[in-house]
Amino acid sequence: MLTATNTKHASPLATFRIFFGLMMFASIIRFWANGWIEKLYLEPSFQFKYYGFEWVSVPAPSLTYGLFTLCALSALCISLGFKYRWSMAIFFLSFTYIELMDKTTYLNHYYFISVLSLMMIFLPMNRYFSWDARNMAYKYVPAYSINALKILIAIVYIYAGLAKLNSDWMLKAMPLSIWLPSKYSIPFLGDFLHQKWAHYFFSWAGAIYDLFIVFFLLYKPTRVWAYLTVIIFHMLTGVLFPIGMFPYVMIVSTLIFFDAPMHQRILTLMAKLSGLGVHQLKSNETWRPSPQVKYFLSIYLIIQILLPLRFLAYPGKLFWTEQGYRFSWRVMLMEKAGYAEFKVVDAATGKSFKVDNSDFLTAFQEKQMATQPDFIVEYAHFLGQHFTKQGHENIEIYVESYVALNGEKSKPFIDPNVNLLEINDSFAHRNWVLPFND
């Protein structure tokens, strides 16, 4: 698709840009209004870092708010197409920096925004119906710049669908059997969310949707129906699960599958409503980006296709060890709950004491920590430093941890006989995670 030399009407990119910018602006405002900047970034005294990004830290409160302001303003500029490339780059950097500050808050949706916005820097989204194009608009862009967006969305959906093809999801209707009954208070739906058939129906429908929706969107005769399915599916997930803005982001993003005429109609309407006038839309030029862009996009998308497959390199049950779990579009895939109690031992005297996690972590951080091996090791190292600073010597740190996965009985998680201070987490297989034994 990327090698095609043909050109396409630029209007789909323009609507995508406008909606993307508005959605991101609304997301940041919502995040701010909910008090999450304070709660998730400023209140915790300790942050869990991503491998290789340990240098990213939460800035002083005023700067943190400044970072969110910058992110929100750049999103507005993107929507307007004002200094688009700069705005897009600033948005990508500020948004991604925020995500890197604490991996406790990792969500596939946020990762999607980062991946998408990095790619969008290199797409000619501002050549038509934008501030940047107010004097010189380009009506046509290389087809690959639209196709790149479609491919990225396809990657997200199809991998999300493939991830659902496991025995827990398909044969046991897990974790929906756990999640759905607790939504009993939802009007109308709530009444049958308790029933087994509903759990299976939602599991199978979700898998089929994720796997095939892109193909129905690509195929013109089914497109309108597929898009209505997109709306229903995402609105339903929005009602059932606390997933914030994501349903709207996907509903708007998938508009990219429609042909130019519909986008032109949207833009004409916008032009009329905003008083900009339709002349903005008149042009017959073709935008020709530098040829390197094509190669960059190809490599970028190939990486995106390969990255979710890295779990194949590790032994053990993926849901248990979570090696290769993140950055792979495994969305709403498992229910994991855990409990981890750390023991600080003085190796010389054998004396020990337990740690009250709430002294260092928020409830949310503790919850995330207790089920993810990399969090547990990172936290243990932090405890080691903390208690060494307090004057304790010859410290060893052990953890007694239990995790329940998809409704199974809780089982010991990390080897309780391993001194976690001797573990340096890396991309190597984690032999200190106890086997799952299905």
Binding site: N34, W36, K39, L40, T105, L107, N108, H109, I178, W179, P181, S182, Y184, S185, F188, D191, F192, H194, Q195, V224, L228, I232, F241, P242, I243, G244, M245, F246, M262, V331, M332, E335, A337, G338, Y339, E341, D346, K351, S352, F353, K354, V355, D356, T362, A363, F364, E366, K367, Y402, V403, A404, G407, K409, S410
Partner: protein, 348 residues
């Protein structure tokens, strides 16, 4: 053209959902959470507070008796009602929700170890405002425990407590407890009850509060901290009621029984687990509690003495209470799909 199609589809969907609604039979095989909430309020929370309040009123009466006729026998009567009120408190300490949560009742009623220096200076200063958070360490049952069980000769203590300054502070401590209990007791009126019972979030909140209490105040506060689990060395003076001393095991047992009764009550959490085909979790939790109670039989009535004599025995009790924490917080919460925290952040 497209708009037409869209409209017709929306029409179809409305029609479809409209039909479906009437097709679904009115079978209520959902677990009746509203009944669970009603039972909690009607059979545990409200009677618990009523009982606690009347125990406090009794305490206040015996305090007046002692004041009017100070003697070792009126002091003994006062001490007995103190103990009964403290036991009644253990039955409601787990319900820090609603008004009790707003008031921070547990903090003002039972923060221990009490700060002796602060109690002494409060007695001297008189007219202390006990609503200040900084005074939590010098009021409630722990302060009463220190005052009523001061280790001096009985007749000297009678004299000391009947003196104006001490007597005034006893009045203040008891009326403060009464005030808090009255406020919370009154808050569970008809409107509060119905808004609690009808709020779908109440189950999550109540269970979270219950687990928080069990883990922090029962497991850690009453056993783990004094047994040195979190400090390396035992802290015998951090037991509950260290001055009266011989009541501490009984207070722990009462609290554990209250927690267990709440869990096993009619249509409560154990039944809910059973309904979700996870009855074995409830059985396992009860097994650990029963084992803890069996072990407690061989434990000194004074946990302080037990720690000084044989702390390992108490640590065994702690282990059983701890094993229940894992089952409650991991297995039960997952089975009932109850969120473990209040952070309402997005998921994916």
């Amino acid at each position: 053209m497209m708009l037409n199609r869209l409209l017709s589809l929306i029409f179809l969907i409305t029609l479809f959902t409209g039909c479906e609604q009437s097709f679904i039979p009115e079978t209520k095989d959902n677990f009746d959470r509203e009944l669970m909430l009603e039972n909690w309020v009607d059979l545990h929370i409200k009677p618990g507070y009523a009982q606690y309040l009347s125990a406090l009123n009794e305490l206040a009466i015996k305090n007046v008796d002692f004041k009017t006729a100070p003697s070792t026998s009126t002091l003994d009567a006062l001490r007995n009602t103190y103990l009964q009120a403290y036991e009644s408190w253990q039955m409601v300490a787990l319900f820090e929700i609603g008004e009790a949560e707003k008031l921070g009742m547990r903090g003002y009623t039972n923060t221990y170890p009490t700060n002796i220096e602060k109690v002494k200076s409060n007695i001297e200063q008189q007219n202390i405002n006990l609503a200040l958070p900084s005074t939590r360490v010098a009021q409630g049952f722990p302060a009463l425990d220190y005052m009523l069980f001061d280790k001096i000769k009985a007749d000297e203590l009678v004299e000391k407590l009947s003196a104006n300054d001490c007597s005034a502070y006893l009045d203040l401590l008891i009326s403060r407890l009464q005030k808090l209990a009255t406020q919370v007791n009154d808050s569970w009126n008809v409107e509060e009850r119905s808004s609690f019972v009808q709020n779908p979030e109440s189950v999550d909140r109540m269970v979270n509060d219950f687990l928080f209490y069990y883990e922090k105040y029962l497991r850690a506060g009453k056993v783990g901290i004094p047994a040195g689990v979190f400090s390396g060395d035992p802290l015998p003076m951090n037991v509950e009621a260290p001055y009266s001393s011989k009541y501490s095991k009984n207070l722990l047992l009462t609290a554990l029984n209250a927690a267990q009764a709440f869990f096993n009550a009619d249509n409560s959490l154990a039944d809910y687990l059973e309904f979700m085909d996870k009855g074995e979790i409830a059985i396992a939790i009860n097994n650990h509690w029963e084992q803890a109670k069996r072990l407690l039989k061989d434990i000194d009535p004074s946990l302080k003495d037990q720690i000084n004599e044989n702390n390992l025995q108490l640590l065994e009790v702690y282990d059983e209470l701890q094993k229940a924490v894992v089952l409650l917080k991991v297995d039960m919460l997952q089975a009932l799909s109850i969120q473990v925290d209040y952070v309402d952040a997005d998921g994916d």
